[in-house]
C-alpha cells in the first residue's frame, strides 16, 4: 500500500495508507536511519514538507492534521536554524526532542505489535479444549424458608377468605310469643304472689335488643293468658313495673292495659 521511495532528490510518496502525520514521519525517519533516536529532525522536516507539497499539487484538499503538522514543523525548523536568542534555541531543541521521543514511542509500540504477533496465539497457533466439562451441580433440593412469608401467607389467606364471604347481619334469636307463653305457663304455677313480668324472661338473653323483644313477647303472652282468665296483670304507675300473678278464684278482675 505504501508505494514510496524516500529519496532526498525525488520523492514519490503517496499519503494513502498512512494513518496520520506521525505515521508518515515515522516512515520517513525509518528510511533515514536504523536508530530512531539518532534521526535528524531537520532532514525529517524537509522530507515531510516536500511530501505535503507534492500531495497538495495533486490534490488541493488535505486533511487538516497534515497541514497543522506541516505548519508546526516549518515553525520548528525556523527556530532551530535561526534562533533569535539562545533561550529560544533551547526551547526548539526541547520540542524537537519531544517529537523524536513520540516517534520512538510509536516505533516501540509497533515493535510490541510485532512481538505479540510472533507469540503463539490462542485460537490460531494453539488451541484450548473444545469441549470443556462442567462439574458444577446445582442442588435444588433445599428449601428456602423464612418466617415472614409464612405469616404473611396466613394473614393473606384469612383476609382473602373473609373478602369472599358475603356480609350477613348477625342473626337475631328472638323470643317469640309462643316461647313466652310456654315459659309463662311453666313458671306461673310456682309463683305464690305478684311477680315482676321481667322475672319470666329467659335469663340467657343478654343482647339489649333481644331483651326488649323478649320483654314484649312476655307481655303479649301475659295479656294472652289474662284474656283466657289464667293470670291477672297490674301496673301501679305509668312505666312502672308490670306485675303478674296466677288468677285465684273470683277475686279482683281488673287488668292493667
Amino acid at each position: 500500500m505504501k508505494a514510496q521511495t524516500v529519496n532526498d532528490t525525488a520523492l514519490h510518496l503517496s499519503l494513502e495508507g498512512f494513518e496520520g502525520p506521525l505515521d508518515l514521519l515515522l516512515d520517513l525517519a525509518r528510511a533515514q536511519k536504523v536508530d530512531i533516536a539518532k534521526i535528524s529532525i531537520l532532514a525529517l522536516v524537509d522530507q515531510y514538507l516536500s511530501v505535503i507539497e507534492g500531495a497538495r499539487r495533486v490534490r488541493l484538499e488535505l486533511a487538516a492534521d497534515w497541514l497543522v503538522m506541516a505548519a508546526w514543523l516549518a515553525w520548528l525548523k525556523s527556530r532551530l536554524l535561526l534562533p533569535e536568542d539562545p533561550q529560544q534555541e533551547e526551547d526548539a531543541e526541547a520540542l524537537a526532542g519531544q517529537l523524536a521521543e513520540r516517534l520512538a514511542e510509536l516505533e516501540r509500540m509497533r515493535a510490541a505489535v510485532q512481538w505479540l504477533s510472533r507469540q503463539p496465539q490462542l485460537g490460531h497457533e494453539v488451541f484450548e479444549r473444545g469441549r470443556p466439562e462442567s462439574f458444577t451441580v446445582t442442588d435444588r433440593s433445599g428449601l428456602a424458608t423464612e418466617l415472614p412469608p409464612l405469616l404473611r401467607g396466613y394473614v393473606d389467606a384469612l383476609r382473602r377468605a373473609a373478602a369472599k364471604r358475603p356480609y350477613r347481619p348477625k342473626q337475631r334469636k328472638l323470643w317469640t310469643v309462643q316461647d313466652a307463653l310456654e315459659r309463662l305457663a311453666r313458671l306461673i304455677g310456682g309463683l305464690p304472689d305478684w311477680g315482676d313480668l321481667r322475672q319470666f324472661m329467659p335469663e340467657q338473653v343478654l343482647d339489649p335488643v333481644e331483651r326488649r323483644a323478649a320483654l314484649a313477647s312476655t307481655l303479649v303472652a301475659g295479656l294472652e293468658m289474662a284474656k283466657g282468665g289464667g293470670v291477672e296483670l297490674r301496673q301501679e304507675a305509668a312505666f312502672g313495673p308490670i306485675l303478674l300473678r296466677q288468677k285465684t278464684g273470683k277475686e279482683s278482675r281488673h287488668a292493667a292495659a
Binding site: E133, E146, G153
Partner: protein
Amino acid sequence: MQPPEPQDTQDDIRVETAPRPGEAPVEHALRLAEALIFAADRPVPLERLQQFLPAGLRAEAVLTLLKARYAGRGVELAEVGGGYAFRTAPDLAPVLTKVVDAPRRLPRAAMEALAIVAYHQPVTRTEIEEIRGASLSQATLEALLEHGLIAPRGRKEVPGRPVLWGTTPRFLDQFGLRALTDLPRREELLAGESTPGLVQAA
C-alpha cells in the same frame, strides 16, 4: 468461542503436518490425534482423524495407542456418540464436582396451607380449604409432605374420617422456631382488623 466446525467444506482436503525432526511417524500421529480430539468441540469420528494421517497409518491403531497412553490417568480417551473424546476419569468426577445450593421457595398456596396447618392443627384438608377460601390441590399438599413440613395426626371422627394434619419438628427447624408457641398469636397478626369474617373464620 468457536464457531461450528466447517465440516462439509473440508472433508475432501488432506492436510498433513510433517513429524518434527527426530520424531517417529507414529509418535507424530499420536500427538496429532491427541491435539485434534482435545481441541474439537465434539467427538471426533474415526474417518475425520484418518484424513489427517499419512497413508500408511490406520486411525484405529493410533487411537488404540492413545487410549493405552491415557489409561489410568486423570483423563481418559472414550468412544462416545460416533467418535472419540477425552473424558474425566469416572472416579475423579465426584471429587471435582462443586455443588451449588439453589434452594427453592414454597409456592404461595403451599405457604398459606402450611401457615393454616400451623395455626389450626390438627386440621383436615376441607378445613384448610374453608379457612383459605380456596381449594387445596393435591400437589400442594404433597409438596408439604415431601418436604417433611406436615404429617398426619390421626383422623377426625366425622363421616368419611378425614386425615388430620399437623406440623412436624422439621417445620420448626426450617423456620427457626423452638416451639409452635414461638409463632405470633393470631390476634397479634391481625391487630387492628375487625373484618367480621375473620372472627368467624377463626
